[in-house]
């Protein structure tokens, strides 16, 4: 039997295998893009480079927020060999147990991935990936660890950058950063897990201006995720760009000085440049060192302490605390009454102490004196005329009309509504209107006599310290204001457009003169309530307030602007539970004004007295 023909069978087999391989390879290499994409996924990585956050300067060009280099201790499990856990724990100052727990935490923290095809769950954690074992080590800490890391293969240090605050002031305003949440990652493609985002204050409001532009680097990577070379010689790469610096209207020296004055006190100082609306200083006392909230470790350690502190250092009082304004309210009342024509600058009302208590020894024969002496009965009479203009016979209906008109005036002063400044979270305060009282007493069930305590800034009326300072700025400007704001310029651009809109009050310019004269007398004339604020070379115009506090000692408040002609600074000082406005708030405001305008303090004794004073029933912080 001859089997020679069988050679063709074998040749046929060989040919058919070779032929189908060629077709298959042609399909894979030329027609189907799937494998090219797969190769890209495998070997080409898109690396994002996060630039350092923009720095922040104060109005005088001092760098008040910068970045500092930190280090992460990274770990690649696959490269760890014969780890001496005890020695490693000693090196980083942990216990062996803590090291083990941290390993577990990293592995578990990555979560699990559910394969949509097979339904199998696999850990996201990969042994070949680098994970931060300890985050945010300082240079000092890492310099103790790094030299020994060669004994622990699989561990290495990596540079990162975090916020640094060379001056300790302004913690509540500047805000802090923390890691983005999953929701934030989903909402904005800019963020990747592990990135930081501004959590409060200016850091949050100007997040997009501060974060800069991420760089993208396409690289060819190995299976161990090491970079081998840049992809296509860097043709598609973009460079990370730090955002241009922010410049604040804040004067860091004044801010720090204000914080020093308010040590051991509870309260606020808000200083505004009237001509621009820039906030020169915003002190919230007690405050905290902004460096306490830099980085995850610090936040984890310090945040709970700050939250639990009974003195509430995290509470930004100037923006969120609402207080009855007390006698400083009389300034606005005077202006409204003059504008409404219910009084003239020379109107006189007797100091009738049967209406409301007042201090003795004065008679206000005109509006300036009324301001100077802060005569309570005078303002009852003024307010009665504003509210009950006798436009309707029914006094209840008349009061409703009058109150709503008054409310409109107040609104034009930025009161009873949120001043949309560039740190979010302000409170609007309270300026009651008819609806407000309808809820309390019923429709048309109230008249001036019911609500008269608001005449002198007590009762239902409430203002934030920012609003108080803005009143001073409005009076300094004689009738208008820019919304108070922190940021003077973003890179080469000016402030946000809504801070360039000049807002007018409903009060004409001429009505301000007698009120300002009264404010001058408050500080500079005998019988004024803020003689303690007087300065020899600067004419301060101010108004004290002593806010009656049913829960404890009265609050001390003072608003002012200076100098009288061409004012440079408008200020509000509010000290909780400190007593008379003239005793504490006025001299503090005076010191800040002097420091700002003269850069030095003449009366060192006054300064010393203020700094050393412990007021406001401040609670001891339990350790």
């Amino acid at each position: 039997m001859n089997f020679d023909a069988r050679r063709y069978v074998l040749i046929f087999f060989i040919a058919i295998v070779g032929f189908s391989y060629i077709i298959r390879i042609f399909y894979m290499q030329v027609i189907d893009d799937k494998w090219k994409l797969r190769a890209q996924q495998i070997a080409e990585k898109r690396k994002e480079i996060t630039p350092a956050r923009a720095v922040i300067f104060d109005r005088n060009g001092m760098k008040i927020v910068s970045n500092r280099t930190y280090f992460n201790l990274m770990m690649v499990e696959d490269k760890i060999k014969n780890l001496d856990t005890a020695a490693f724990a000693t090196l980083i100052g942990w216990t062996v147990e803590e090291v083990r727990n941290r390993f577990k935490e990293i592995v578990d923290g990555e979560g699990r991935y559910k394969n949509p095809n097979t339904g199998k769950r696999t850990a996201n954690y990969q042994k070949i990936r680098a994970y931060p074992f300890i985050k945010e080590l300082t240079l000092e800490e890492v310099s103790k660890i790094a030299p020994h890391l060669e004994n622990f293969p699989g561990f290495y240090e990596e540079v990162t950058s975090m916020r640094n605050y060379p001056y300790l002031g302004g913690a509540n305003i500047l805000g802090y950063l923390s890691e983005v949440t999953r929701e934030e990652v989903d909402a904005d493609q800019f963020y990747k897990p592990g990135n930081n985002i501004g959590r409060s204050g200016i850091e949050r409001f100007y997040e997009k201006d501060l974060r800069g532009r991420k760089g993208v680097k396409y690289v060819v990577t190995s299976a161990l995720n090491n970079t081998i070379e840049s992809y296509a010689s860097g043709k598609f790469d973009t460079i990370a760009k730090q955002a241009e610096p922010l410049k604040l209207g804040m004067d860091m020296l004044i801010q720090a000085y204000g914080e020093k004055l308010l040590q051991n006190k509870k309260g606020s100082i808000v200083a505004i440049e009237p001509s621009s609306g820039e906030i020169l200083a915003m002190v919230s006392a007690p405050s905290f060192d902004p460096n306490l909230l830099v980085g995850r470790r610090n936040i984890r350690m310090n945040y709970p302490k700050l939250v639990l502190d009974p003195n509430m250092p995290l509470f930004p009082r100037p923006l969120q605390a609402e207080y009855p304004p007390g006698s400083i309210f009389k300034l606005v009342q005077s202006l409204i009454a003059l504008q409404e024509g219910v009084i003239t600058p020379n109107s006189s009302f007797p100091c009738d102490k049967s209406l409301v208590g007042c201090h003795p020894g004065h008679h206000a024969s005109n509006i300036s004196e009324a301001v100077q002496f802060s005569c309570n009965p005078y303002y009852y009479a003024v307010m009665r005329r504003i509210i009950q203009q006798k436009l309707r016979k029914n006094s209840n209906i008349d009061a409703e009309l009058g109150l709503n008109k008054w409310h409109k005036y107040m609104s034009s002063f930025g009161l009873g509504k949120v001043l949309e400044t560039d740190v979010s979270g302000q409170r609007p305060g309270v300026i009651p209107n008819s609806k407000y009282y309808d809820k309390w007493y019923g429709h048309h069930q109230w008249a001036f006599s019911t609500i008269r305590s608001i005449s002198i800034g007590q009762g239902e009326v409430k203002l934030t310290p920012l609003q108080m300072a803005n009143i001073a700025a409005i009076i300094a400007n004689k009738g208008w204001y820019y919304t108070p704001h922190f940021v003077k310029s973003i890179g080469s651009k000016g402030p946000l457009s809504n801070f360039k809109i000049r807002k007018k009050t409903m009060v004409g310019i001429k009505h301000f003169e007698p009120v300002i004269e009264g404010m001058r007398r408050v500080v500079n004339e005998n019988g004024g309530t803020a003689r303690s604020a007087r300065l020899d070379e600067i004419v301060i115009c101010g108004k004290t307030g002593t806010v009656q506090n049913p829960h404890g000692q009265d609050h001390s408040v003072f608003i002012a602007f200076a100098p009288k002609n061409n004012p440079k600074i408008a200020i509000a000082v509010f000290i909780e539970n400190a007593g008379f406005g003239g005793t504490w708030a006025a001299p503090i405001a005076s010191l800040v004004i002097e420091k700002y305008l003269n850069r030095k303090i003449k009366d060192k004794d006054k300064e010393k007295r203020i700094i050393e004073a412990k007021l406001s029933n401040l609670k001891e912080i339990p350790e």
Partner: protein
Amino acid sequence: MRKEENLISYLDWPLFISFLLMLIMGLATVYSVAYTPEDPSLFDLDKQYGKQSIWIGISLFLGLLVFLIDSDIYRKFAFPIYLSTLLLLVIVLFMPAINGARAWIGIGSMGIQPAEFSKIASSLLLAKYISELSLKQQTIASVSRAIAIILVPMILILLQPDAGTFVVFTSFLFVMYREGLTFDPLILSIINKVPGFRFKYTWVGSHFIPILFVILFLSILTLLLQQEETDFYFLPFKVSGSMYVIFSLIILSIIGIAFIRQFGSKRDRSRVSAVILLGLVLGGGLSYTVDAGFGSLAPHQKDRIELFLGLREDPNGKDYNRNRAMAAVGSGGFFGKGYNKASVSSVESNHVPESETDFIFCPFAEEWGFIGTLFLVALYLFMLIRIIFIAERQRSSFNRIYAYCVAMILFYHFAINIGMSIGFAPVIGIPLPFFSYGGSSMMSFSIMIFILLKLDSQRKDVLS
């Protein structure tokens, strides 16, 4: 002097040149894959390409020795050679395991793999045995001995374990088929035990291998195409995977019948046509059955088969190697990324494991693209068919059978090695001859080719 003249004038140059071409291409690929800028020298012994150069040098020297030795020795000493490799295969089982297999004798990089050489020894003994066999009177004993020759080393190799080489040994079945060895004595001894059965001959027994090959080939092809379902606008139904196969079979049959009508003898015409038509019906039926059968499988069974065939992906799990390998091949494109520019399969990037040994096809395909792979596959096909051509011109059946052994072993390595890089074959680690880095495979394949060239050059000295 006479011998020298003989060698040059009787050497089969096409085979020799294609062999040398592959050595050069292989070394160039190993160099490119393992290249690092720090060690640019081809002869840097710290790198794979340095060692590979040495292996090639040794292989060529061994080839020269083969040429100098009288060709008669292979037939005369086939059995001692076979026994000594068996001994080595036993010894290797007592060696320390490297990567989970006891495959190496010797230390470190200077070790050899006896399994590689046992392929030559088995080829020689099989050639000797079958050539001395009376094919007209095959008995249970004669068939069993032939099977034993390949089965003994297979078992020893499986003990290492080395699944790749184990599978390669089945290539000898193709050789047996060519030589007319039939399994009939074995099959008949079983079948005829059934009362009433009195067969003298079973078609299956003598055509066992091509039947198996065709069944496997058609089944895999059907399964691979099983997910493809195309909606041609001019057809009222969807074209499924098995339809593609059946359609291809019809076209092949038409070509085959046309071919036989043109060139075949009168007797062949009707007979071959009938066989082709029968094959068409059976093949079509098989394809349809496999398609329908697969559809009725339980999901987890489907899963396993799909994973095996690379239809289902588990890129970071069981399918890691194949997935990376296919990505590397596919990313080559038409013209390739250029020499030394493999980004997925270089040793440095290490996405494709064993890219300098078992997956050497990946960097080659990545760097040279379809142009390169087409050339490579064509070169292999040329070499295989040339060896069969050489086999058929031998006067001695020993020479012919040996040549077929070489052809089929190389065919297996070619088909499985490239197949696993393109998702057509399961991932079992066997080298691509003349390409893959490794001393034992380089030496054994070279010696294999040189023995063939030597036998061929002296074919006219053989009388029978």
